[in-house]
C-alpha cells in the first residue's frame, strides 16, 4: 500500500474509553436511582393516652384516593398502598400502638389462617367499622369470622404480629373508613420486615404483583432502635 499510515491508536483508545465511561455512568445512574428511591422514614410519636408510642397509617385502594396522607407525585397513583410510608421507626422494648384508617374494600385471603390476630397486646384489636347494612359499629375482636372480608393485613412475622384489617363494607357511605387500633411490644433493636398477607395487588396475576412486591406500598421495614 502506498503511504502506509500508522494506525491511530490514540483516537481509538479515546473512543473505547469514552464508551466505557458512558456505560459505567449509565449503570451507576440506574443503580443509584434505584437505591435512592427508598421510601421516607416515619418516626413514631409519643402516645397521647397510655404508654409507648403511636403510629397513624392509612390504607387506600389507590394512592390517588388518599384522604389523610396524599402522595401527589407518586409514580403509581393507581396502586393499593399503606400511607404515608412503610418505613416505620419505633423505640426498642416499648409498646407500639398502630392506628390504621382502612379505606379499601375486601380482597380476601387465600389462607384463612391469617384472619386471626396474633402477637398483639391483650390478643384483641379495637375496630370501628360499617356492617353489611352500612351502619357504623364498634368492638374488640380477636379474629374476623370470614376470611373473604379482609381488605389487608398488617404483619411483622419475625415479631409474631399478625392483624387482619376488615375491608370497607360496600354499603358504607362513600369516603368512609374502618379504624383499627392495636398495640404490640418491641424487643431488642433490629430491622424487621412487615407486609400484607392479602393478595391485594390489583391488576396482577394472583394479586401478588406490583404493590405487594414494592417497598413503600404493601411492605416495608419496622426499624426498632
Amino acid at each position: 500500500m502506498e503511504g502506509n499510515r500508522a494506525p491511530r491508536v490514540g483516537a481509538r483508545l479515546l473512543v473505547v474509553l469514552g464508551a466505557t465511561l458512558g456505560l459505567a455512568a449509565l449503570v451507576a445512574g440506574f443503580v443509584l436511582g434505584f437505591a435512592l428511591q427508598f421510601p421516607p422514614t416515619l418516626t413514631a410519636t409519643a402516645a397521647q393516652t397510655g404508654p409507648g408510642v403511636t403510629i397513624h397509617l392509612e390504607t387506600v385502594a389507590a394512592v390517588s384516593e388518599a384522604i389523610a396522607f396524599p402522595r401527589p407525585d407518586d409514580p403509581h397513583p393507581d396502586w393499593v398502598s399503606y400511607l404515608p410510608t412503610t418505613m416505620l421507626k419505633v423505640p426498642a422494648n416499648s409498646t407500639v400502638t398502630i392506628v390504621i384508617d382502612q379505606e379499601d374494600g375486601a380482597s380476601g385471603l387465600r389462607n384463612p389462617f391469617w384472619s386471626k390476630a396474633r402477637g398483639i397486646v391483650g390478643g384483641t384489636f379495637h375496630m370501628s367499622y360499617f356492617d353489611d347494612n352500612g351502619d357504623p359499629q364498634e368492638g374488640d375482636f380477636s379474629a374476623l369470622d370470614d376470611a373473604s372480608t379482609l381488605g389487608h393485613s398488617f404483619a411483622i412475622p419475625d415479631l409474631g404480629v399478625f392483624v387482619p384489617l376488615l375491608g370497607i363494607s360496600d354499603a358504607a357511605p362513600a369516603g368512609s373508613k374502618n379504624v383499627i387500633t392495636f398495640s404490640f411490644q418491641t424487643g431488642k433493636p433490629g430491622i424487621y420486615r412487615w407486609q400484607c398477607f392479602v393478595p391485594c395487588g390489583a391488576g396482577s396475576i394472583y394479586g401478588n404483583g406490583n404493590a405487594m412486591q414494592t417497598l413503600g406500598y404493601m411492605g416495608g421495614y419496622l426499624i426498632v432502635q
Binding site: S107, R110, N111, P112, F113, S115, K116, R118, S142, A143, D145, D146, A147, P157, D158, G160, R193, Q195, F197, P199, C200, G201, A202, G203, S204, I205, Y206, G207, N208, M212, Q213, T214, L215, G219
Partner: protein, 264 residues
Amino acid sequence: MLSVIGVVIAMQVQLPPGDQSRQAGDESSILQLMLIISTPVFIGVCLFVVYSALVFRQGRTGLVDGPPSYGNFRLQVAWIAITAVIVLFLAAIGITQLGSSAQATNFTAAQLATAGSTPVGTSAGHELQVQVIAQQWYFTYRYADYGGAESLHLVLPVDSNIEIHVTSTDVLHSFWAYQLGVKADANPGVDNVFYVTTMHTGSFTVRCAELCGIWHGNMFDTSGKVVSQDDFATWIAQLQTDEADVTLPPYAPAYFPSPRVKGS
C-alpha cells in the same frame, strides 16, 4: 501413604446436615463416603502434577520432539473400568437414598375440587402427617391428624416417621428444613410428599429455597423444633385450643388458587 492419611482424616470430618433425622444422617454419610473415595483420587492427581512438573520440565537443551506414543490397551481398560465402577457405585447409592425419601403426586384442578375433606392417602397408622403451606412470604403447617390445626412454626415429635406434604397457595417456593435434610419444591396445585424420621431433639431452621418475591430473603424461621413425644402432645393440645376461633378450610392435599387477575 498420603492417601491413607487423607482417608483417615476424611473419616473424622463431620459433614452437614448432621443427624437430626435419619434422612439427614443418610445425606451426611453419603457425603462422607464420597469424600473418602475421592480423597485418594485427588491426592493421586496432585502427586502426578507435581511429578510431571519436576520430571518432564524443559531442560537447558533445545526443544526436541519426544518419542511417539501409542495406545496402551491394558492401561486404557483399567482407567475406564475403575472410573466407571466408582461413578456407577456413587450414582446407585445416591439414587437409592433419594428414592427412599421422596415421592410426588400431581393433582388436577378437578381432582382437587372433589377432594374435599378426604385426607391425603390412607392412614398408615404410624406416620404423622404434616402439611407445609408456602405462601408469600411465610410457611405455615397443618397437622392433618389433629383436626387440621395450623401453626406458625413447625414442631415435630422425636423418634417418629413424619410424612411431609408440601404445597403452595401462590407462586413457586421451596421448603428447606436444613437440619432435617429436606428440601422440597412447594408448587401450587401439587402435593409433594417427603418423609422424615426424627432422631434427636433440637431446633432447626426452615428457609425458602426458591426466589419467590420481594421478601424471599426474609422467608425463614429459626424456631422449628424436634421435641419429646410428651412435649409434642402438650404443644399440639395447646395449639388446638389457641386456634379454635379460626375457621380453616377442610384439610386438602393442595389449595389451588384459581388463576386470576385481581381487579379485572
